[in-house]
């Protein structure tokens, strides 16, 4: 009985966790996919806020777009648009894997880098187009 108590109070050995692995691109993109998904989840509040503002009236709409157009607001929107595009690219990668294809290491790495490069490129492109539109309006 006493022996069992002592044994139970000893800290149990734990299997190695994330901190012992050197980060591989596939592992990082898997984590980022979940983080961007979580960010998009709460980011829907921004979309709802903007839509409600448009449905409320000009004064409140100007107030909300003023906040969203501030440097901090633009930074959040930039991050939100990247999270959206990156989660989409990561999702397309998962849909490819769902067909049973692309599981050899070279393709896995290529898809992981590809999702990062494409999402970054598309985000920059989106904002260049947006800034041109804003300048033209």
């Amino acid at each position: 009985m006493a022996n069992a108590e002592i044994q139970r109070s000893k800290p149990r050995p734990l299997s190695p966790h994330l901190q012992v692995y050197s980060p591989l691109i596939n592992m990082v993109m898997s984590i980022v996919h979940r983080i961007t998904g979580g960010a998009l989840y709460f980011g829907t509040l921004l979309l709802a806020w903007w839509l409600i503002a448009a449905a409320t009236g000009p004064a409140y709409f100007d107030f909300v777009t003023g906040i969203m157009g501030s440097p901090l607001g633009l930074l959040v929107l930039f991050g939100y648009s990247w999270a959206l595009l990156h989660h989409m690219m990561g999702g397309i990668r998962h849909l490819i894997w769902d067909t049973g294809r692309g599981f050899d290491l070279a393709t896995v790495d290529m898809l992981s880098w590809g999702s990062l490069i494409l999402s970054a490129g598309l985000t920059v492109l989106l904002w260049i187009v947006g800034l041109i539109m804003k300048g033209g309006a």
Partner: protein
């Protein structure tokens, strides 16, 4: 060994079960592939709808109230947006459910968070639908 870990009702019952009955039994999870399938189906829908909505949304960068309102009143904007909200609600609820189930192991906390997850998704989704409907039909 495996007999004791996974007892079957009886050898006869196991033998006369049809493939359909086995599929309907769905194992210990008591549910099938709905979560997986819905997540994939809404993922495909989201990907298409996000592109359609983003292409129009980017034109509203820095737009004033009148321009934004007019754009949101157009069915070419509001319909894809409403579809995206609907598909997105299902997708984000399933995604957050997975995250909660992965990290929260205390039973009460898990149940509360799963409940809040559903409340949050429905509240945000309905807020979006309300706003778009008011813009489209209201004064």
């Amino acid at each position: 060994m495996s007999e004791t870990l996974h007892p079957t009702p009886s050898p006869t019952a196991a033998r006369i079960r049809t493939p359909l009955a086995r599929a309907r039994g769905l194992g210990s999870a008591k549910s099938g592939t709905e979560h997986f399938w819905l997540q994939r189906m809404t993922a495909v829908a989201n990907a298409v709808l996000v592109i359609v909505v983003l292409l129009q949304m980017v034109r509203l960068a820095g737009a004033d109230y009148v321009t934004a309102k007019a754009a949101l009143q157009s069915p070419f904007m509001s319909l894809p947006l409403l579809l995206l909200v609907l598909s997105g609600m299902v997708h984000m609820r399933l995604g957050m459910q997975t995250i909660i189930e992965d990290y929260v192991h205390a039973e009460v906390s898990k149940l509360v968070l799963l409940m809040l997850n559903t409340f949050f998704v429905i509240a945000v989704g309905l807020a979006c639908v309300y706003a778009v409907a008011k813009l489209s039909f209201g004064a």
